[in-house]
Each structure stands twice: as C-alpha cells, then as structure tokens.
C-alpha cells in the first residue's frame, strides 16, 4: 500500500514537471515573445488561394485521367480543361508574384499518369504558366512583400512538365486577365 502511494506520488510529480516544462525552460519570457503564431489574414487568403489552386490542379489531373479512360469526349475535355486551367491560372497568379522571363507559353499540363523523371518539388501536378504567352504577366492582385517567404527550400514552384502529350495541343484560352468573378460563375 505504501509502495503504491509512493509510486503514485512520484508519478504525479513527474507529470506536473512535464506539464510545467515549457515554463521551466523559459521562465522569463516577455508576453510578446510568448505568442502563439497564428496565420494572419494575408496568410489565410494565401492558404485559400493555394487550396483553390490545388483544387483546380487536382481536377485537371482527374480530368486527364477521365479523358484517357474514355469517360470524357474530346470536345468536353477541351472545354473543361480550358476552364480548369483558367481557374488554376487565376489562383496561381494571385499567389505568385510575377515570374520574370517566363513569357514562353508552355504546353499542356500533364496529369501525372505518364511518369516523368521526378522533378524536385514538382509533385506531379500539372501547373500551367500563370500567363498566356504574348501578354506580360497580369498585374498581380495585391500580395505585398511581407508575404512570408517559403520556409522550406523545395518550394514547389509551378514547374510545368515540358513534355508534349499525345493529345491535341491545348488551346490556351485567350484569357486576357484572370478576372475576378470569372470561372466560378458557371
């Protein structure tokens, strides 16, 4: 019985110490340094845009798969793919500051079905260029400088897979600018 109580006491003390550990490590921390980091409104907006981008890219990949397996006819594919690329472009454009020197139009994004040598950081996601060829990059929606730089080196810059695909060349839709209310209102 005594042993049990001793063990219990020791255990309780250990727990208390463990719980108090953050305070014991940094006992004198001023309140502004003791902040729990939290995404600010810019971060949240960026996150939402990133999700929109990923939605569109994932949808493109699925569309590609569906097209290859015959569920989507060629005309439907062209139409839907164009629309999806617009959406992705929009989100990407809103996310990325202008990428200099990327005026060249790049061909169809590949849905990771055919596997290419893996590019570092390129998650196999098709990523269209943010801007159509001849026009200079559209003016960016305000993502001002204090945008947190990517913390990790392999930033998944939208490296497009530069491999042609056995389908028709993409009709890069002459979307002049990513319009605000654009593709969603379908």
């Amino acid at each position: 019985m005594l042993l049990a109580l001793l063990l219990a006491g020791a255990f309780a003390v250990a727990c208390v110490l463990f719980v108090a550990r953050p305070f014991l490590r940094d006992p004198l921390l001023s309140p502004d340094r003791d902040r729990l980091a939290e995404p600010g409104p810019l971060d949240r907006r960026a996150l939402e845009l990133a999700e929109e981008r990923d939605h569109a890219l994932a949808a493109l990949k699925e569309l590609e798969l569906d097209h290859r397996t015959g569920k989507v006819s060629d005309e439907d594919y062209a139409g839907l793919a164009g629309q999806l690329r617009r959406e992705a472009a929009e989100a990407l454009g809103a996310l990325e500051p202008r990428v200099p020197g990327r005026g060249r139009q790049v061909s169809v994004p590949l849905a990771g079905m055919v596997e290419l040598p893996d590019q570092p950081g390129a998650p196999g996601m098709p990523a269209p260029e943010p801007s159509p060829a001849p026009h200079e990059p559209p003016q960016q929606p305000q993502i001002p400088e204090p945008y947190p730089p990517p913390a990790t080196p392999p930033a998944p810059a939208p490296v497009p897979e530069p491999t042609p695909v056995p389908h028709e060349p993409p009709q890069q839709p002459q979307v002049p600018e990513p319009m605000p209310g654009g593709p969603q209102a379908v």
């Binding site: 996150l47 990133a50 999700e51 798969l65 998944p156």
Partner: protein
C-alpha cells in the same frame, strides 16, 4: 496496487482538466508556453491512463481477487489470454480501455501535428481534453475498476461466449474505431474555434478518419463472424441496438469520407461535412451510451446502471455545443462554387451521401423509438427486423447501384452520351447475369435477384475501371499489363483503393443476399439412427458423446452429413457446460462446402435425457463471401491509406508557403 490505479486515474482526470482549461486559455490568448504545457498535459494523461491500465492487467494476471472487477470477470482456471481480455469484459474495464485509446490517440494527434498546425492544434487540445476528462471522471467517480473487496477463493469467471479469439479482438478494434472518430471531430471543432475556413483540418485528419472507419468496419465483421460461429443461432446480424450502435457511426463516417472528396475538388459542402463529422462522433458516443445504460432491450446491454444519465448529459452537451459553434461560424463556411450538373460525379457523391445518411437516420430512429415512445406514450414500442430489412433494401440497393455508376461519371459535367457509352458494357453484363440467375432459380427472392444483378453491374463497372486505366497507361507508357496496373493503383491510391473497397462491399452484398434470401432452414427431433433432409443434404444422427475438457464439459452429437449417397462430412454439434460459471453455451457445427459455395450449419438445439436431440439445420449459400469481403475491405482501405510521398510534398508545400507559421520567436 489498487491505490496506484485509482491515483493514476485521478491524475489523468487532473491532467485532462488542465488540458481543457489551460489549452482553451492558451488558444484564446495565444500564449505559446501555456499551449505547449497543455499539449504536454494531454500526452501525460496517456501515461496516467497507461499506468491505470497496467495496474488492472497486473491484477488480472495475478488473479488478485481483492479487486472486485477481477473477481467478477475471471477465474483461476481461465486461460491467460482470456484473463487478459477480461480487461474489456465488463463495464469499468471497457471504460478504461476507451480512456486508454482516447488518451493514446490524443497524444499521437498532438505529436504528429506538433509542427504542422500549431494554431489549429492549440484548439484541438482542449477539445480532446474535454472528452478525456469526461471518461476519466466516469472512471474516478462513477464506475471505478479498482473497487476492492475481501478476496474470495475463486472468481466468477468469464462469460463462456466471450472465451474465443474473436471476442478478444472485437472490442479493441471497435474502440479503435469509435475513439478514432474523436480526432477528426476535435480538428473540426478546432477549425471552427480558430475561425478557419480552409480544409486544413480535413487534410490533417484524412487518414485518421480512414483508419477509424476501417477499424469499425473490420470490428463489426469480426463481431458478425463471432455471432455466426459462436453464438450459433445461424445468423450474423440481428439489428440489435448494440449492433446498430456500431453501424450508425460507420455509415456516417462513410458518408463523410465521400463528401470530403467534393469539398476537396470544389470547396463546397463545407457545412455538410462539419455536420457529418459531428454526427459520426456523437453517434459513436450514443452507441456506447445505449450499450451501457440499459435503456433499450438488447441482448447485449448491461442492465440499468448509474452511467446512463451521465452519458446522456455529455452527449447532449457535446451535440448542443458543436451545433451552436457551427451555427456561429456559418458565415465563414459559405462556399463560392456550385454543383454544376445533376449528372456528374459530384452529384453521385451527393446522392450517395443522402442515401447513407438516410439509412443511418432510419436505423437511429428504429433504435430510439422505444425510448421515445415510452417517454411520450408511457409504453415502449419496438420495431422489429422487417423495419430494418425494408429500409436496408430501399436505401441500400440504390447505394449498391450508385457504386457502379459513380466511377463511370465524369467530374463536373457528364454528357449523357458519354455516360451511355460507359454504362453499356456493365449493364449488359448485369442483364446477362440476371437472366442466368433467373434460369437457375434465383427468382425465388426478388430482392435477392435485384441485389445479385446490381452486384454484377458494379463488379463489371469496377473491373472496367481498372482495365481502362491500365490500358490508358499502356498506351502512353508502354508498360506490361501488371506493371501498368500496379503503377495505376500506385499513382491514384485513394481512387483505386476506394474501388477495391467498393468491390468488398459488393461481395458483402452478395454474401448477405445469398445467405438470407436463399437460405434453407429445417428442424427435426432425431433419435440415434434417424435422419432428416435439408436442401439436398441428408443428416443422420449417430450417437452422443460427453467428455470433460479444461474448464468445461463437452456434449457432442455425432452427425453424418450426406449428399445423395456420398458422405460429405461428419459434424459434431453440441453444447459446452462451464463449471465455474455454471453456464451452458451452444456449439454450432459448420460445414463449409466450397464446391457448392454454401455453409451447412447444424445446431443441437436441445439434448434430451433419453439421448434424442432437437436439431436445427440451416443451409446458407455464399455466406463466406461476407468474411472474404472483410479481407478485400482491409486491402482496399490499406491502399487508400498508404501515404503518397508526392502528395505529402505537395501538401507540405501548400501549407508552408501559404499560411506559413514563422519559426517561434
């Protein structure tokens, strides 16, 4: 040692309560050290629960009958494996198991997410702590496993029907499922509390939900198998409230797993997904409340206990609180996108969701109807098997059909022409199979025939999916068939893992249809030497044997099973009489005929003193497909679960670039 156990539980309660209070304060005021301290408390609560569990296991293994729980559920002669499984054989122990798993999952959730989602995690901790504190409180104040007494010479022993391997595995697996649903719920609530409208919480808990859902599914199948093999009434599912208690959260979780895919593609149905997660979690709590409180007539439930009102109160509080929170955050969750077409894969997911939720709610209604009618009319009215069977058909058969249609429909907008083209072959297969079945006589049961035909359709559809996908790969990458198939599945694990799971559900449907709609049941009283007929089999009762074994006496009737003139098998149905527990258990004999794909179950219903026996014979076609489906289900779930390095990278990038939390100052 019981003092150590009790103390450990009190410490666990204290730590959980601290996690709630400190965690809530830290999240609200954004205090980093306090948040980390609360996380530590949650992790430490797992250690405390583990200590308490260890004390109970030690008491069980040492046959410490001064612990009332040990004395009530074990005996000296009980084999060790079952002695340990007695841990969850009773009310208090099973609550402790729940707490152990809950704190373990909480600690794991905290550990796995400690870097990734700090702001979200800050709110996850108090939510998890709340649930943990509730269960710890029950164990400390209401239903303690460490009640002591004067030690009797021997314990009361374990219910004999629990003394088999299935019952050792079934509860822990189910608990992993029930408790596993707490984590997605906690993340969902945290997202609401943190005012986040993005899907971080879904991404963080996707695999948790999948794993919990998988455990629930496998746990239920094990339970059904146990009921079939051990309990020996010839069936595997009786729509008993306790069985429904596991089915309902599983259905809600299935709906959630599907509708999440819509949110991932179109960012819509955010509110619906929140509701589903709340529903799944509350149903898992409700299920355990039903079992423990004794409010409904069930073969399984514990009799009326003090725990019921506490559970009910907690469930009401959780439901009210989470719905209120959801309502407050409703403006945040507005989606900008719309369902574009009623003929699209998103739409089929929506229909699937509606059917699943409808089935879930009808079962819930059936389970709570006695309680409600007693409260309203003063008289409890129960619904029987026909009610459940009807709604299973009304909602289940269309669901079955949708499993085959869904994969063939394109996202966003499917053209009817394309759809017709895709459906042509599976429909043709289904019609051919249906016609063939009519010829062999399956028309005797219309629902059975429909189920078979739909199943053929779905299997054809799934097979074609794999085929087309592999062929598309071959066309572009020139791989061999096996390589193309492997690469296809590897690249699209969730999709093709999902198809495998669909296939398992189809197998289940075929097995259920066959063994219920097309079964044969015969009963007869036989004296030694006499025979009876059932579905083309002849059963001849030879003799009776009695022998003592370990902790029981076995009475067996030796029966010859013949088909025509050929002796197919010798089966020995009978009964076991357990000494310590003074209990009789039925030992049904099962003969599986692989050639004819059916089971012959022989039950010795009543053994009379004069040596005559009442036999009940059931011939169940295709019943083993149900168990086979379990393996396929497991495989599919594993495929879908398997981490994908590419996708992980993408997600890490998504959340580190946008919404990056700068390193702590």
């Amino acid at each position: 040692m019981p003092e150590l156990g009790r103390a450990a539980l009190i410490v666990c309660l204290g730590l959980s309560a601290y996690a709630v209070v400190a965690g809530g304060l830290a999240a609200h005021h954004r205090r980093r050290r306090l948040a980390v301290s609360a996380q530590n408390a949650l992790v430490a609560s797992f250690a405390a629960a583990a200590v308490a569990a260890g004390v109970l296991v030690a008491g069980l293994v040492r046959h410490d009958f001064s612990l009332a729980y040990v004395a009530d559920h074990t005996s000296r002669k009980l084999p060790t494996a079952y002695t340990i499984s007695a841990f969850w054989g009773g009310q208090e122990g099973s609550l402790l198991l729940w707490l152990l798993v809950l704190t373990g999952f909480s600690a794991a959730a905290v550990f796995l997410n400690r870097r990734a989602t700090r702001d979200l995690l800050a709110w996850v901790v108090p939510v998890l702590g709340t649930v943990g504190a509730f269960f710890a409180f029950l164990l400390v104040a209401v239903s303690s496993p460490f009640v002591t007494q004067v030690a009797p010479a021997d314990g009361a022993g374990l219910n004999p029907s629990l003394q088999n391997p299935y019952m050792v595995a079934h509860p822990p697996l189910l608990y992993l499922g029930f408790v596993g649903l707490t984590v997605p719920f906690a993340f969902a609530m945290a997202a609401l509390l943190a005012r986040r409208a993005d899907e971080r919480w879904i991404v963080a808990t996707r695999r948790w939900t999948l794993a919990a859902w998988g455990f629930l599914g496998i746990g239920q199948l094990l339970g059904a198998h146990w009921a079939y093999v051990e309990v020996g009434w010839g069936g595997y599912f009786a729509w008993d409230p306790v069985e429904n208690a596991a089915l309902m959260p599983w259905l809600a979780a299935t709906a959630f797993l599907h509708s999440v895919m819509i949110q991932e593609r179109k960012g819509m149905l955010k509110v619906w997904n929140m509701l589903l997660v709340i529903l799944a979690f509350c149903l898992s709590l409700f299920g355990t409340f039903l079992t423990r409180s004794g409010v409904v007539n069930s073969i399984h439930s514990f009799t009326q206990s003090a725990i019921g009102p506490w559970f009910l109160g907690f469930i009401c509080a959780i439901t009210a609180g989470s719905l209120a929170l959801l309502f407050l955050r409703l403006p945040l969750l507005r989606s900008k996108t719309r369902l574009e077409s009623l003929v699209s894969r998103e739409a089929t997911f929506l229909y699937n969701n509606l059917l699943l939720v409808a089935l879930c709610l009808t079962i819930l209604w059936g389970v709570t109807y006695p309680i409600l009618s007693e409260a309203v009319r003063g008289e409890a009215v129960t619904v029987g098997r026909p009610y459940y069977d009807f709604f299973l058909r009304v909602f289940g058969l269309p669901l079955l059909l949708l499993m085959g249609i869904g994969p063939l429909v394109a996202w966003r907008r499917a053209s009817l022409r394309g759809l017709r083209r895709m459906l042509a072959l599976p429909v043709a297969v289904a019609l051919v199979v249906g016609a063939a079945l009519l010829v062999v006589g399956s028309g005797s049961s219309r629902p059975g025939l429909v189920a078979y035909t739909f199943s053929a359709f779905v299997l054809a559809s799934i097979g074609l999916e794999f085929l087309r996908g592999a062929r598309a790969r071959r066309d572009t990458a020139g791989e061999s068939w096996p390589a193309a198939l492997a690469a296809l599945v590897n690249r699209n694990r969730r999709r093709y893992g999902g198809y495998v799971v669909h296939a398992s559900v189809v197998l289940l449907a075929i097995g259920v249809a066959g063994s219920s709609a097309y079964q044969t049941i015969r009963e007869a009283k036989l004296r030694p030497g006499e025979s009876m007929q059932a579905a083309g089999y002849t059963l001849t009762y030879r003799s009776l044997s009695t022998r003592p074994v370990e902790n029981r006496q076995e009475v067996r009737a030796l029966v010859d099973l013949r088909r025509g003139d050929r002796l197919v098998a010798r089966v020995e149905p009978g009964k076991n009489r357990y000494f310590a527990e003074d209990q009789v258990s039925n030992e049904m004999a099962i003969h599986t005929s692989w050639l004819r794909a059916e089971d012959v179950n022989v039950i010795a219903d009543q053994v009379n003193p004069d040596g005559s026996v009442y036999f009940k014979v059931l011939v169940k076609p295709l019943v083993n497909l149900i168990w086979a489906a379990g393996f396929v289900f497991l495989g599919g779930a594993l495929i879908a679960f398997w981490p994908d390095a590419r996708e992980e990278r993408r997600l890490v990038a998504r959340y580190s670039r946008a919404g990056a939390l700068p390193a702590e100052a």
